[in-house]
Symmetry: D2
Subunit: 276 residues, 4 copies
């Protein structure tokens, strides 16, 4: 646990030696704080209002060159100052509050959590939960706050080349599509980002499928082959037109069923909501 020590302020003698160092280094620190702390949270949910989940937090501030250290315990206080379960609405507010409470000019928070969406199977309509790894992250710097959403969407990809060259069948596999977007205007739900990725994939995934559904998703993937390059391009096209989105980055990792390595593609761009 550290203690913040401004260099110029008179100090009790017991920490004088510590102070000495600071003058000679003259090095501001980009990020200092706590990493890998878990906390229960409540997250806004389009279908049900809110859902309970558990988040992993990284919380950092910058530190000017003339300060020896930051106040580590204050980061944890910020988490506990809210009710036991933090609402996501308060994410931007928490970012500002943290930066001010730490007497910093820049603050950074990342909050990663499992997120559930109830889905209906494509033919029988049987319902089951699908889980995604979601992250809300952002930075507050010189009075300006940027907030990003990120979601890792597991999907099916089916290889167009394998389909084309083979007399029957086509290799397919689970793919993790990661969509990161800067939210500049209005509300954007995690479900919406996940949906964009699922619609670009060869097929989306479900927790529960009956036989008629399994036939449907098998044929759907075969009818809809996609290279890893197609996945990221088709998603980028959708994000570019969205007036709520500023900068974005899309990646897909396909865990190839014919190799022991992944195919990977990544594309960066800007949406219609970019603020200069």
């Amino acid at each position: 646990m550290n203690v913040a020590v401004p260099v110029k302020k008179p100090k009790v003698k017991s920490v004088e030696d510590v102070q000495g160092h600071a003058d000679t280094r003259q090095l501001p620190i980009n990020k200092v704080g706590i990493k890998d702390i878990y906390h229960p949270v409540k997250v806004k949910d389009r279908a049900r209002g809110e859902q309970h989940t558990v988040a992993n937090f990284n919380m950092y501030v910058n530190l000017p060159h003339n300060f020896k250290g930051t106040h580590m315990s204050r980061f944890v206080e910020i988490l506990h100052r809210h009710e036991r379960e933090i609402s996501v609405d308060s994410f931007g507010q928490m970012l500002v509050e943290m930066t001010e409470h730490l007497d910093a000019s820049a603050g950074h928070i990342e909050m990663t959590f499992p997120y559930f969406v109830m889905k209906k199977a494509p033919v029988t309509g049987v319902e089951s939960l699908m889980n995604y790894q979601a992250t809300i992250f952002g930075e507050h710097r010189e009075g300006k706050t940027d907030v990003w959403l990120k979601v890792v969407v597991p999907t099916t990809s089916l290889c167009p080349c394998s389909k084309k060259i083979s007399d029957y069948g086509a290799h397919n596999q689970r793919s993790h599509i990661t969509v990161r977007v800067e939210v500049t205007v209005g509300a954007l739900y995690l479900e919406e980002l996940a949906r964009i990725a699922e619609e670009a994939a060869s097929c989306e995934l479900f927790g529960l499928l009956k036989r008629a559904d399994e036939k449907f998703v098998t044929e759907r993937a075969y009818d809809n082959p996609k290279f890893v390059e197609d996945l990221v391009r088709d998603i980028a096209l959708r994000l570019k037109r969205d007036p709520r989105i500023g900068r974005f980055r899309v990646a897909s990792e396909n865990f190839e069923s014919i190799h022991n390595h992944s195919a990977y593609a990544e594309i960066a761009g800007v949406g219609a909501g970019l603020i200069d």
Copy 2:
């Protein structure tokens, strides 16, 4: 770092308080030692004589109730006593040596490492390396030494149900087949175990495939659908007949391309080489 303290032996006064406790607890310890230490090793290789790799070791001994602690540094000495790179031939010997050097009646070592096999693509014959996670583990207890091999074999599995019910296509995915066998007689190569798992799968994996090869593996998997239950049963059948194998355990985890969870099966049995 701990220090072994036999209860009955006269001690220098500085550790008398430590000794006191031991008498009251009267609890032998099943395993004590070091975990998660890395060391370069040389492993026997059927095709090339030997290969260089890096292993992660767990090394434990038992501890009688009247000893306060074991000598942690001796485990590390055992690793370094051999040449810089440890040969696998010396695994059984290292197990005995460790148990004796630690004055124990039972010793246990697990050594896990990436293992490479050069494979030829099925049509073009182009060569590439395939990697497996291998483990040699064993126990020396009351003069008897058991040595096991374990290998995690990534393969393709193609779902028979999906193939049967769909007009075209079939979902397939990467599957991790884990084969663990007790070697009771003679030499058994990691390649042999990997091969048994690959032959039972819908198709094996390759590092490098040309177009003609990709056509081959796509059709081969489609011609050869396997449930997760089939994978473990077909491998178990092979292991039961092997005169070099005693106890065994086979598991397969299929990373379903239509779900966000795995299908899993596990079967235990005994081979023709079981020693009573």
Copy 3:
């Protein structure tokens, strides 16, 4: 996705080829089911009644030799048959229900989740959440149900040898103590198991500590040095006396601050609640 096919039952022609195989192998399967599926749950909490969290499930049944495959979709149905959030009270009930729904004679479930306990700092009393990784697992076999609790408790360990031989200071580190117990009679809270591990450690951990608290925990650990062997023995002594506990296993992994590997100890035993 698999489909259960009893060998003797007449089948529609489309799956006859699949049936053929089963007769020749004659191999029952120990475990078959789904692995690594996430679901929101509600868990019983001594202080607050219940808490919301997210669990990872593994769910398996056995499969007789004359069945080709199990019904994978039924496992997911079991998870969704309960309300959206599963209560832990219903764990034993879910185990029986799953085994019956799958027409099996043995069933096995593992459910792992982050669990939070509000703790007061030792001097200032400031409150903060501490998180543990908890697991409820169990087996239903031939009409008998065994339920186990497991909790991984992060603590501080301080090395007695280092303290003894050094003129000042002593190396200390985070240790993960894993306690697994079979609950045979009455109620046992996860908090109670965590508490037993924390009381045996050199010091327990807290989310938030003020300066007076940090002084306390530093001195407390120094006053209370423990070898990895001491940790597991002291906990085993407590578990042996507990009338609610049958079989148990305690392990500690100390992430040594002076080495790049861990010290490890493990002890198995039986509590006062063992049922023959």
Copy 4:
């Protein structure tokens, strides 16, 4: 497995549908290639000339908007074109070769591997291996090649605040210091980077320590307390003066022994070898 299809080039009829898409999207791709492939390598070693290890590779190129896909198999060919074990000297050369072989204007490779250094214990001089996770990564773009080294150095950190406020003892823990530097001129060994991090820590780690050594490292850490901020600043000071280093980034994650989360700091800067 994908196949590169230039949009303007006449194509055989079987892939015409695939071509159609490319025109409408007009999106270049930043990175496309293979991820998470393992290969044995030989790495330059200051003390012994070279060492054998196993590397994980990510290999990407950019893709212009008018190409449908890249040639995935060529990445694997690049790995195999070299001898079975790749020397690090050839890293820059491999980067250029890959970019050209894929007909790209930019290429990116990351190669991560365990790296071993033989160290002598501080008092007894007993030798043992210490392992580090090392990465060589770089980019070739418009005829210019940047190569970076990264090494994760496990060390001991001892908290100055805990030492100051406590009557005896001080909490300490394992810390992972990550140093990333752009090598602009001359030779820089992984050992040198690791050494810089170890000298800035409260104490370095060893595989094997005898009692006299354990006393030394305990007292050394107590005599040399460091906040996470001190670790990254002291290392940044050293890197800034190095004429072989351009841009750099230093981070430290301290796995606090009194909390269940980490303290973290990160600093970016430029060395004396920066090339504009």
